[in-house]
Amino acid sequence: MSKAATKPEFALMAEFRSSRELLHAIEQSQAAGYTQLEAYTPYPIEEVWEALGQHKSKLPLIVLIGGIVGAFTGYLLQYWVSVINYPVNVGGRPLHSWVSFIPVTFETTILFAAGAAVLGMFALNRLPMPYHPVFNVPRFALASRDRYFLAIGSWDPKYDRRATEEFLLGLDPFEVNEVAS
């Protein structure tokens, strides 16, 4: 535990050995009135984000919009090229050969939707962000191995450096660390 913090700390972070302990700690923290919680786990655990009150992601909507834009882009491009810009008799086929335009329309739909999914995911997660205060905690490296972390942000109205630390220590963590900002 760091003691002499020159700057106000970012958060307090407790390390747990199992997801059950983490879930228990989240419940206890919420019961104690903490709202600015963030949990870190080595793999996705649905119960954790649900416990933290995240039920619906905005991502499906973003992907839907991406797909619709892709479909229109693909089809209108082909229509404009084949019918409006330079209409040519190709093998006696009609100018607006809509059947032939389906494959490309399908592909652009998928392309735009997939692009929207990836870019949307990174944007919603505020990535890239190579620097983040939580990395200041040396043991946080284990968040990508087998340890579970719960952080309470220092901007939480109920946050108090000492009281919160006491509270977290009461949850039977492996360790509680201060996250320097």
Binding site: S18, P44, I45, W49, I110, A113, M121, L124, M129
Partner: protein, 455 residues
């Protein structure tokens, strides 16, 4: 989670910590000596490929064995072969994810990488098969001073869109899947350069609940998008033939039969790679007999669909009453390329029947042999479709024969070298098994309390 009588997905005794350490250590420690030898050999093949391509660009398509009537040969055969191989990766990572097949987890990462590298090899061929490769960008729609655009009724333009979309989406899917693992490597790496590189590539992934929530949504959506995409890609590739009116090409069975063939070929290649890799890197705990058995079953099923395709081709030739079709089939069976057709039946229809036997499915060496037969057989299938159909079409006065030249072979073998070289680089620098997904399934597959941590 393990049904009685079935081998487990992960060998007993593993914890999230142990899988993390074991898989990341492959990347973070030195490569064994054989890796250098193998990489060196495949790199030499890449150099041969480059030499052959230089020759091709400077002298012309004529260094290949092509002629009129056989305007397509090795290049298109290789293109379809590679793109077919690519399909298994997306299938494993996307479709099996949607079907909640957990056994996919330990093979999806390198299968996806295999997809990317196979698509890279595949993408090379349409570019170089054209007479003027330096103008291949004319197939892309971009505003130009000629005010001329691609001709969107051509299956080759559909191909351009399908293959580029497939390559892009596969790359995104693969990269998204890698981000948490890159973070793992960032956290484990000791050298500063490795830390910075993995740190940049992982974009600052923290594994927070918010991250995972959006991530899982994105991953599921990508899988949902990749599933129809993977089906569409080989469908579009089959349109290259099915839209033509050549007997032997113009068949409505082609889209489903090509997609099944692609999965068939792809799984064969996954087995071809998985069997040696699990031995060489001691991954038998993660790529278990269960995986091999399941892949064997998928191969058997898709192999039967492919065999059905062959039967339907013959049936339709008779049932259509179209003499051109009928002659095409007779020419396959009796014509000058009949040996290729018989070899194809041996490789693609007979050899997979061994997979009915459980002992074959559970013996890596035997499975590898069957997979090699299928790899060869699927190449022959494309040879039969492309060459046998073209060499004797409508006007007997224009019939001809075709044989690949040494440059055809050099480019084909070179593309295998490129594939292997990329694969060796991949296993050197990136985790070949998805670490975070292994962490996810380990608790479910282990009988004992998973969250107890080794100190």
């Amino acid at each position: 989670m393990t049904a009685p009588g079935k081998p487990p997905i992960v060998a007993p005794g593993h914890t999230p910590g142990s899988v993390t350490d074991q898989i990341s250590s492959i990347v973070l420690t030195r490569m064994p000596r054989w890796w250098w030898a193998a990489f060196g050999a495949s790199f030499a093949l890449v150099m041969m490929l480059l030499y052959a391509l230089t020759k091709l660009v400077f002298e012309g398509t004529g260094i290949w064995g092509l002629n009129i009537p056989v305007g397509w040969g090795f290049a298109i055969i290789n293109f379809v072969w590679w793109i077919g191989i690519g399909h298994a990766g997306t299938l494993i990572s996307a479709i099996l994810l949607l079907l909640r097949q957990e056994w996919r987890t330990s093979i999806n990462r390198f299968a996806e990488a295999m997809t990317l590298f196979a698509v890279a090899c595949a993408g090379l061929f349409p570019l170089i098969h054209v007479g003027r490769p330096w103008l291949a960008y004319w197939l892309l729609p971009y505003p130009n001073t000629m005010d001329i655009w691609p001709q969107f009724r051509s299956p080759l333009v559909w191909d351009v869109f399908a293959v580029t979309t497939y390559a892009t989406v596969s790359l995104l899917f693969w990269y998204v899947g890698l981000v948490p693992d890159l973070a793992t490597l960032r956290d484990r790496a000791r050298q500063r350069l490795a830390k910075i590189t993995y740190g940049f590539l992982s974009m600052g992934w923290r594994g927070s609940a918010t991250h995972w929530h959006n991530y899982e949504t994105a991953y599921l959506l990508l899988a949902g998008l990749a599933t129809p995409l993977v089906v569409s890609v080989h469908t579009v590739v089959s349109f290259d033939f099915a839209v033509g009116q050549l007997p032997g090409w113009h068949a409505t069975i082609f889209p489903p039969y090509f997609v099944a063939g692609a999965i068939f070929a792809g799984f064969a290649m996954v087995i071809t790679l998985a069997v040696p890799l699990r031995t060489l890197f001691d991954l038998k705990d993660f790529i278990t007999i269960r995986h091999l058995q399941n892949m064997g079953k998928v191969m058997l099923a898709t192999g039967l669909i492919v065999a059905y395709g062959y039967v339907i081709e013959i049936f339709m030739a008779w049932y259509s009453g179209n003499w051109f079709e009928e002659f095409m089939i007779l020419n396959r069976i009796q014509g000058p390329y009949r040996m290729q057709w018989y070899a194809l039946l041996l490789c693609n229809v007979l050899a997979p029947q061994l997979l009915w036997i459980k002992r074959v499915r559970s013996t890596p060496a035997l499975l590898f042999v069957v997979a090699m037969f299928v790899n060869v057989g699927m190449w022959l299938e494309r040879f039969v479709i492309v060459v046998t159909s073209l060499h004797r079409d409508f006007l007997p006065s224009s019939w001809g024969m075709y044989a690949g030249t040494r440059w055809d072979w050099a480019i084909f073998v070179g593309s295998i070298g490129l594939f292997l070289a990329l694969l060796f680089l991949f296993i050197r620098f990136l985790p070949m098994i998805s670490i975070f997904e292994m962490r996810t399934i380990v608790p479910k597959t282990q009988a004992r309390e998973p969250d107890e941590v080794s100190p």
